[in-house]
Symmetry: C2
Subunit: 233 residues, 2 copies
DNA sequence: CAAACCAATCTGGTTAACCAATTTGAGTAA
DNA sequence: TTACTCAAATTGGTTAACCAGATTGGTTTG
C-alpha cells in the first residue's frame, strides 16, 4: 500500500496469495453475504501458512470493507454480492504502488474541490486554523527557511474546512508521500516560496469571502506555478 | 451489535491514546526525520500497554507514511519535519468515520475525473474489460434482477482504465461502503436500472471514441438520474 | 411440548516466548 | 592511530500457548 522495501514485498506476495486463496474458498463454498468464514486457525492450517499471515490478509480485506471480524464469534462476508466480491478482490490483488504522477494528479483534483467546498462551508474556527498555518508558513519563508511542512499543513487545513471527511482522509494519505517526493527532488528550494506566500493569502481571502469560484481559480494559479517545476521529475 | 461497536471504539480509543503518546515522546525527545523510535518492547513497557497494541498503532502511522519499520533494526521517523508530523497526527486522531454524503460527493468527484482520463488513456484491453462488465450488467437488468454489483464493477473498470493508480485505490476504498448504503436504502430497485443501461453504454461509447468531454458529460447525466433518489437519505 | 438453562466447545484477541537478521563496540592486527 | 573482526546484544517479525466471551446443542424444568 505504501512504498515498500524488498523484504516487505515478499510479505506482500504471500499475503496476496492468501487473499486469492480466500477468494477461491468463498467461491468454492458458495459463501454468500453474511456467511461465516472458516476460523483463522483452520485457514492457516488449510493454506499451510501461519495464523498471523491469515490475520493480516483478513485485516486487509477488512480495510476494503469485504470482510468483518467479530470478536469471539468469527469473520463474516460483507453485504456485497459474490460478483462484486470477486471483482474487487481481483482489483486489490492487482493494485500497484502509486507513482508520483498519479499522486500529484489526484492531489490537484482533490484540492480544487476541497478549496471550493471550504469556501462554502468554512466556519470561523476553520478560518482561525488556516490563518495560523499560513502565518507559520510566511514566517518561515521570510526567514529563508524551508517551509514545505507548513505549506502542506495549510492545505490540510483547507481539506478539514471542506467538511468532507472522505476527502480529508484521502489528503492525509497522499500528503506524506508528496512531501517526501518533493524534498527528494528539491522542488521547493528554488525560490518559488516567496511567490507562494501571496498565492496562499489569495486562496485564504477567497475562502474567507466565501467565493468558491475565485478560490478554485487561485488554487489553480498556485498549482500552475508549483508544478511547472515538476514536469521533469 | 451495539457491543461490537463499543468494543471496537474502545480499541480505537486506546490506539489513539498510544498514537498521541508516541507523538508526545517524539516531541519530548526532539526526534527528527530519520531518527529511531524506542523499541516496541520499550514503548509497551513505558506506556503500560501490550506490545501488540503498540505494533498496531505503529502500523497505522506507517500506513499514513509517518513511520517506517525496518525488520531487525528499528522503527524510524519519516522524512517529514516535526511540524508536519504534529499536524498530521493531530488530524489522524480527529479523523471521523465518513458519512454517506461525503462518500457520494467524493465518488462523483473521482468518477468525473477517471472517466475523462479513461477516455484519454484507455487501451484495447481496457475496452474489452469494460464491455464485459457492461454486458453482464445489461443481462442482469433485463432479467429483472438486482445489478448493483455489476454496475459498480463497470465503474471500477473505468477507474482502472484511467491509468491513475491512486484514484483506482480510492475508488476501491469507497466502493463497498457505497454498495452497502445503497442496498440499505434500496436506491436501486426503483426502476431506474433500465434507463441506466443506455446511460452506461453512452459512457462506454464516449470512452471508446476517446472523447473526454463527452464522457464526462454522460457520466454527469448518469449521476443526475442516480442521485435524485438519494437526496432524502 | 416448549422455553429456559448450562456447560462443553469454538472463536478472535492477547500475551509471552522464540527466531533470524542487523547493530554495535570491544578487541585485535596492521 | 586506523581499519577490520566477530560475537554479544538488540531489533522487528513469527510462532504458539492462553484468555474471555460468544455460540451451541443437549438437558432440565415449568
Amino acid at each position: 500500500m505504501k512504498i515498500e522495501i524488498l523484504t516487505r514485498n515478499e510479505n506482500q506476495e504471500i499475503q496476496n496469495e492468501i487473499i486469492s486463496k480466500i477468494r477461491d474458498l468463498m467461491n468454492y463454498k458458495n459463501l454468500e453475504p453474511g456467511d461465516k468464514l472458516p476460523s483463522e486457525r483452520m485457514l492457516s492450517e488449510k493454506f499451510g501458512v501461519s495464523r498471523s499471515n491469515v490475520r493480516e490478509a483478513i485485516h486487509k480485506l477488512e480495510f476494503y470493507g469485504l470482510l468483518k471480524s467479530k470478536p469471539q464469534s468469527g469473520t463474516f462476508v460483507a453485504d456485497i454480492g459474490q460478483v462484486a466480491m470477486n471483482g474487487m478482490i481481483e482489483d486489490i490483488l492487482r493494485l500497484e504502488d502509486p507513482d508520483f504522477k498519479s499522486l500529484v494528479e489526484t492531489r490537484i483534483l482533490l484540492e480544487l474541490k476541497t478549496v471550493r467546498l471550504a469556501a462554502q462551508r468554512r466556519t470561523e474556527q476553520d478560518l482561525i486554523q488556516m490563518k495560523m498555518a499560513l502565518e507559520a508558513y510566511s514566517e518561515k519563508v521570510k526567514a529563508g527557511q524551508d517551509a514545505v511542512q507548513e505549506d502542506l499543513l495549510f492545505h490540510l487545513a483547507i481539506a478539514k474546512a471542506s467538511g468532507n471527511s472522505t476527502m480529508n482522509t484521502f489528503m492525509l494519505i497522499i500528503t506524506p508521500e508528496i512531501i517526501t517526493k518533493f524534498e527528494e527532488h528539491h522542488v521547493c528550494d528554488k525560490g518559488l516560496a516567496f511567490t507562494g506566500i501571496q498565492e496562499h493569502w489569495d486562496i485564504f481571502d477567497a475562502i474567507k469571502a466565501q467565493d468558491p469560484q475565485l478560490a478554485k481559480q487561485k488554487m489553480k494559479t498556485h498549482f500552475k506555478t508549483l508544478y511547472q517545476y515538476c514536469y521533469n521529475i
